[in-house]
């Protein structure tokens, strides 16, 4: 031992050195934060992540110029490729900052002529000719005016074969040849001839669902190249492109004034991609970011911890499918069995214990209760296990096994717990259930193949505009729909009548008729209206998340 006594000194030195290194790092970390806060008005280099500025909330006088920073941390930002043909609907949050939409919409999910490049539009009686008049005061960030050429060019890009735009098939259903079907009458007038009646073409070319309606500059894109555009994009939106590190952040800088938004509130707006929720929460608590997406489970705790929580109630509706219920051997062939399933579950308990109180009982899947075209007099079914048992007995339920697929999804991470709870309720009334752990893509494959006799699975259908529901109902419930669980002639008739409507009033009435029929037929096991939640620090005073699909009203964060 004495031989090694001299080695104690190096050990102590090494330990002290390590400690000093950590201390030095901590000190430089503090000075890093100070530097990035004080340099908030200058542009940010690509080597550092822009830091949030935590300013206390006070009543804000009218701003003359954009000021300060806001940093939003999300799980995902789509492709992080700011180009109308290379981005999915999931990237709409930032795309709407950079680009304006051809046809405008508002946060209530309605068409709005005040919010898009088109100030006026009209449709022919046969719904195959649409005329649009553009505003003349919209300029791209390089000063070029936004004209009909840019609109035509953008639609052509978005409908091209290589385009990944999520809802492009809704547009290509009526526009297959943008070059010949779109006529430029004058620099600010455009006419679109569709190949079949397209009563919702203005919706399909808006920003209400995906990025299909966003307008990209033709001249600039052709100058830099279609592939290169996304590396340094320009648009006409309230924010211009600054910088990006893929997988890390995207940074935008406000225009001093925008025709639609006015003077944006924040000078710099940054999106950060932080997939892990614990890390997002830590970043919020450390004021590195100002807004984070948060799961339903964590929202109540964060609120207790002093963070502000903003929720989009009824963002989606959760339900289970009764697959292949049209088959003679299906356990759901009998309406009494379908009703029994709906009466067997306690929606209030599910909301409280599985979804942390962040949902409300819902009436008809796939419509959230706040969706257009619903009948609010039709309430969610009550929890009545005794009646469920009686119905099962009347129907002669023979104990046939129901196999419920269980999988987590990004929008419903509580999925497996939800399925376990549902299976428990069903078992309690005598329904023989089996839970099959799987993953969503495999379940979807089975749905497409229609091999799910007596099988069930869940989905959360997002709220969407009326036109969107019309499209999704065809896919989900029409006899010819790819994912149909029902082959009901009455549903087909009601759906086709809806598709034949031209005016919005008729469309709403047709939607209500279908909604009511499906409510009375118990076509799904409808559960709950789900909330999406965000946690913020004091940088955000108020926030209306709106009713758009795949976009939670980030516009309203920078709206003055």
């Amino acid at each position: 031992m004495t031989r090694y006594r001299s080695l104690r000194i190096p050990f102590i030195v090494a330990t002290l050195t390590a400690f000093m290194l950590i201390l030095a790092s901590a000190c430089s970390s503090s000075s890093d934060s100070v530097e990035s806060t004080s340099s908030s008005s200058s542009s940010t280099s690509a080597t550092s992540v822009p830091a949030a500025t935590a300013a206390p909330a006070t009543s804000v006088p009218a701003v003359v110029k954009p000021q300060g920073k806001l940093t939003v941390a999300l799980t995902d930002l789509g492709n992080e490729t700011p180009s109308v043909w290379q981005e999915y609907a999931f990237g709409k949050s930032y795309m709407r900052m950079l680009f304006d939409a051809f046809n405008g919409t508002n946060d209530a999910g309605e068409m709005d002529k005040g919010n898009g490049a088109s100030k006026e539009w009209s449709m022919s009686e046969d719904a195959q000719t649409w005329s649009f008049t553009l505003r003349e005061n919209i300029k791209f960030h390089n000063g070029d005016p936004l004209t009909a050429e840019d609109v035509k060019f953008s639609i052509g890009l978005m409908t091209s074969e290589d385009s990944v735009a999520s809802y492009k098939t809704k547009v290509t259903a009526s526009i297959q040849d943008a070059e010949n079907q779109i006529t430029i009458v004058s620099p600010y007038e455009i006419v679109i001839e569709t190949s079949k009646p397209a009563a919702y073409l203005n919706w399909d070319l808006s920003d209400i669902q995906g990025v299909e309606g966003l307008v990209q500059p033709k001249n600039y894109t052709e100058t830099v190249g279609i592939e290169e555009f996304a590396n340094d994009p320009i648009g006409s939106g309230p924010y211009k492109w600054v910088d990006q590190r893929k997988g890390d952040f995207m940074e935008f800088e406000a225009m001093d004034k925008h025709w639609r938004v006015g003077v944006p509130k924040f000078k710099t707006f940054t999106f950060r991609v932080i997939p892990e929720e614990s890390t997002r929460i830590a970043a919020l608590k450390a004021n590195e970011v100002d807004v984070i997406s948060v799961s339903r489970e964590r929202a109540p705790q964060l609120e207790k911890d002093g963070q502000k929580i903003f929720s989009k109630v009824g963002a989606s509706v959760l339900g289970l499918y009764f697959h292949e219920q049209y088959l003679d051997e299906s356990v759901w062939k009998d309406i009494r069995v379908r009703e029994a399933f709906n009466l067997a579950i306690n929606r209030d308990e599910l909301c409280e214990f599985v979804f942390a109180g962040q949902c409300t009982p819902a009436s008809v899947y796939p419509w959230p209760d706040i969706a257009p075209g619903t009948d609010n007099s039709l309430k969610a079914l009550p929890y009545d296990p005794e009646r469920a048992k009686a119905l099962l007995s009347d129907a002669g339920y023979d104990g046939a096994e129901v196999a419920i697929r269980s999988y987590p999804r990004a929008d419903v991470p509580e999925g497996p717990r939800f399925i376990e709870a549902v299976a428990g309720y069903l078992d309690a009334v005598g329904i023989n259930t089996k839970i099959i752990p799987t993953e969503y893509a495999s379940y979807r494959k089975e749905r497409l193949a229609h091999t799910l006799n007596n099988g069930s699975g869940y989905l959360a259908a997002p709220n969407r505009p009326l036109a969107g529901f019309q499209g999704v109902m065809r896919v989900l419930n029409h006899s010819e729909g790819a994912f149909t669980s029902t082959k009901d002639p009455e549903i087909d008739r009601l759906m086709e009548a809806w598709e034949a409507t031209i005016t919005e009033a008729d469309s709403l009435a047709a939607s209500v008729a279908l909604y009511t029929y499906m409510y009375n037929q118990f076509t799904h096991l409808t559960c709950c209206n789900m909330s999406i939640s965000y946690a913020t620090n004091d940088q955000v005073d108020s926030w209306d998340l709106g009713k758009r699909v795949w976009d939670d009203g980030f516009t309203n964060l920078y709206q003055p």
């Binding site: 090694y4 970390s29 290589d162 997939p275 892990e276 830590a282 970043a283």
Partner: protein, 305 residues
């Protein structure tokens, strides 16, 4: 020696080829990427269009042929999700991972060498137990949990370090430590046993008889000879860090290859997954090849075998 090198290179190429078949088939076993890339309500036509544009509707043999053709011409194909060349995605991310691995390697060296030496020198004492305990912890603690714990302590509680993302040196500390800690454990234990063996050898006894100080004996003579096996294994471990980074990069939102692989797996972006796995495997196989060749050069007994 030449024959040995040629044989090893041949083995490395065969290993890569076999891996290409395995990874090609395994990613396709996970299912159809189009099902995940479109919203749940996208219809059959949209799915078929997307499958066609991705090329996943072609026969497997054709897809594999295209895969090999692309790789032999230096192309990794296009990402199914973003339509961008995979090589560009990797070009963006690989340097970020290399930087993180570099700092992790530095941390490994700075921690494991002193720990290994102390553990060997103070064998059987509390210091040895402590160092061994730290090594065991490193192998037992899940990497992601360690990362989350560090964030909680150093970001939320103390406010010393940033939680996530890339930036200045302070951004590297926690993710690099999380990434390297597992390897610290392995290197420490290896160094301890190598050093114990060295300290027991005849030339060390001679050095003591000659009156050299223990510091010189341990740090100059014994350690140097112990490092041969440590450097060999350590080099391979550090190459593996690139692949182990997936969990660390997700927890710390580090925009590296690990995150790219994670996104590729989640979205079934076959070309991305294939490319990342092939590149990572290539790095490990190449490192192993270089080490083997260097070893054969240094130790004639190996090449004569």
């Amino acid at each position: 020696m030449q024959r040995y090198i040629i044989r090893r290179i041949g083995e490395a190429v065969l290993a890569l080829l076999a891996l290409s078949i395995i990874i090609f088939l395994m990613v396709r076993l996970t299912g159809d990427p189009a099902l995940l890339m479109l919203p749940p309500d996208a219809g059959k036509e949209a799915l078929e269009d997307l499958r066609h544009s991705m090329g996943v509707d072609k026969p497997l043999v054709v897809q594999y042929g295209l895969f090999i053709r692309d790789y032999s011409t230096g192309s990794f194909g296009d990402s199914l999700r973003s339509k961008s060349p995979v090589s560009e995605l990797i070009k963006d991310r690989l340097p970020n991972s290399m930087k993180l691995v570099g700092v992790a390697a530095l941390i490994v060296i700075l921690i494991s060498i002193p720990l290994g030496v102390l553990s060997a020198v103070y064998k059987g004492t509390l210091i040895d137990t402590t160092c061994t305990g730290i090594a065991v912890l490193g192998q037992a603690i899940p990497v992601f949990w360690l990362g989350m714990l560090l964030i909680q302590v150093f970001t939320v509680s103390l406010g010393w370090l940033p939680s996530s993302g890339m930036g200045g040196f302070t951004h590297y500390i926690m993710p690099a430590f999380s990434l390297g800690f597992f390897t610290v454990a392995a290197i420490t234990r290896l160094l301890r046993s190598s050093l114990l063996e060295a300290l027991d050898s005849e030339y060390i006894k001679l050095a003591r008889i000659k009156g050299l100080s223990e510091f010189i004996i341990v740090w100059k003579h014994a350690l140097r000879n112990s490092l041969i096996s440590v450097v060999t294994l350590g080099g391979i471990y550090i190459a593996i860090l690139i692949t182990l980074g997936i969990l660390v990069e997700v927890v710390f939102a580090w925009p590296g290859m690990g995150r790219l692989l994670y996104q590729g797996i989640v979205f079934r972006d076959f070309p991305v997954v294939q490319a990342v796995v092939m590149i990572s495997a290539g790095i490990v196989i190449t490192t192993s090849l270089v080490v083997d060749i260097a070893y054969a050069y240094l130790d004639p007994r190996i090449r004569l075998q």
